[in-house]
């Protein structure tokens, strides 16, 4: 894990590197010995490619977050690991619920090699949070049924479930025989 100083140096390096751009790194967060880079949504592929060149060669996880009520609400986290240094860094992008779209990091492209492990995990983020990944080879739901409506892990999605009639609550139920 880069320490707080290391994280700032890494952010500075990324800003200076070719193709990423000065404004691609929106901020850094060092919290409980975890380093996080917040990245502009359009630059995610570039930033990940640059980090891969710096040794963060494994993508350990892609997951979604709903920051309700903060805007932009949805977040996607990419956890990278440098196996030789045993060093981790988190890359975060935030997208709004109105335009929940993001470049997929799964396929290879002009801006670097893809991360095949992100395939199913991006599908899960799409399924649960509704972030559509542009350029993903197979953008379908992965856990919920194909005909399911809504994205159940969003904070404004009802928890759901069924009212269950137990013996003690049988009389209160609207379906109960009296």
């Amino acid at each position: 894990m880069p320490d707080a100083t290391g994280l700032e140096l890494l952010a500075k390096e990324l800003r200076a590197s070719e193709g990423v751009g000065e404004d691609a790194i929106l901020g850094t967060l060092y919290f409980r010995s975890r380093a996080t880079l917040e990245v502009r949504p359009t630059s995610i592929r570039k930033v990940l490619a640059c980090l891969r060149e710096r040794g963060y060669k494994s993508m350990m996880s892609v997951h979604g977050v709903d920051y309700y009520p903060h805007e932009p609400r949805l977040g996607v986290h990419y956890e990278l690991l440098d196996m030789s240094e045993v060093d981790r860094v988190t890359v975060t992008v935030r997208v709004a619920t109105e335009t929940p779209e993001l470049d997929s990091v799964t396929p290879d492209g002009d801006d670097g090699k893809g991360w095949p492990t992100a395939d199913h995990q991006e599908r899960e983020v799409y399924d649960m949070f509704g972030v559509a990944f542009r350029g993903h080879p197979d953008m379908r739901r992965i856990l919920m049924p194909e005909d399911y409506e809504g994205h159940p892990q969003r904070r404004d999605f009802p928890v759901g479930g069924e009212p269950v009639i137990f013996t003690y609550s049988e009389g209160d139920s609207h379906g109960a025989r009296r």
């Binding site: 856990l143 159940p152 479930g161 069924e162």
Partner: protein, 257 residues
């Protein structure tokens, strides 16, 4: 050890019981009574041979012929000379009458073929029920079938997601009548701690005969549930679940059928 033919002649007509104590053993034992062994007999009398009562064999032959003719259906052990109250008592001691339904449900209830099917952590307890400690084979339920066509009991061991529900319903529909279902554990009965968007209670899409509570239920719990179902099958021999639950006309309509 030599097998002795059991002669049946020379017995008083009213004796009525199967002749464990035969003429030959009686004479060999010299009035000692009780259980006789070969060694005791040879030691007692020293003759070593087997005494065959030829008249007994003739009676056997006669009884067999009678049986074949259908005159005597009670088997060759019933003395031909029996009649009246004596014969009545003899029949009562030996013959059990019941309805065909009861006999069939007795057979069914003692040989469930469960479907080898587990959904979640409850399945571990289900396997343990088949293991040596609970030993479901004591009751004749040990033949877990891999195909729903060969099974007549489905144990929903675990949580049923709404994606899995149609598959389970298909499996249940593929099982042949008569069939029974056990909902094992909190998740598929009342959805337990997963009472949210992902799960559906089993009662919503198929008829359940026995609910086993617990999270997960111990093998004893499942055993108790299966034995309850066994009792249900014995006492309510109504074969089809549609009759049991008044669900005629809910058959699945396959596309293109």
């Amino acid at each position: 050890m030599k097998r002795e033919p059991v002669p049946r002649g020379g017995r008083p007509a009213g004796q009525g019981r199967r002749g464990f104590e035969t003429d030959s053993t009686r004479s060999a034992g010299q009035g000692q009574g009780g259980v006789e062994t070969d060694s005791a007999r040879s030691a007692g009398q020293g003759q070593g041979g087997v005494e065959i009562d030829s008249s007994g064999l003739r009676v056997n032959e006669h009884d067999s012929k009678e049986l074949l003719r259908g005159a005597e259906l009670l088997g060759p052990t019933a003395p031909a000379s029996m009649d009246g109250e004596e014969l009545e008592r003899y029949v009562h001691e030996r013959v059990l009458t019941t309805t065909l339904e009861k006999a069939v449900s007795w057979g069914r209830s003692n040989s469930f073929f469960p479907l080898a099917f587990g959904l979640a952590c409850c399945a571990m307890e289900q396997f343990q029920t088949a293991g040596p400690r609970m030993d479901i084979a004591r009751f004749g339920f040990e033949a877990f079938r891999a195909s729903p066509r060969q099974a007549d009991l489905i144990i929903l061991a675990g949580r049923v997601s709404i994606k899995m529900a149609p598959i389970i319903r298909r499996l249940y529909d593929q099982m042949l009548e008569p069939k029974w279902a056990i909902s094992m554990g909190a998740c598929c009965s009342s959805m337990g701690v997963f009472n949210n968007y992902a799960l559906v209670p089993a009662d919503k899409f198929m008829p359940i005969d026995v609910h086993v509570p617990g999270c997960p239920p111990r093998p004893e719990g499942l055993m108790h549930g299966i034995l309850k179902l066994r009792k249900l099958v014995q006492e309510d021999p109504d074969a089809g679940w549609r009759e049991r639950y008044g669900a005629e006309g809910t058959e699945e309509i396959l596309p293109g059928a």
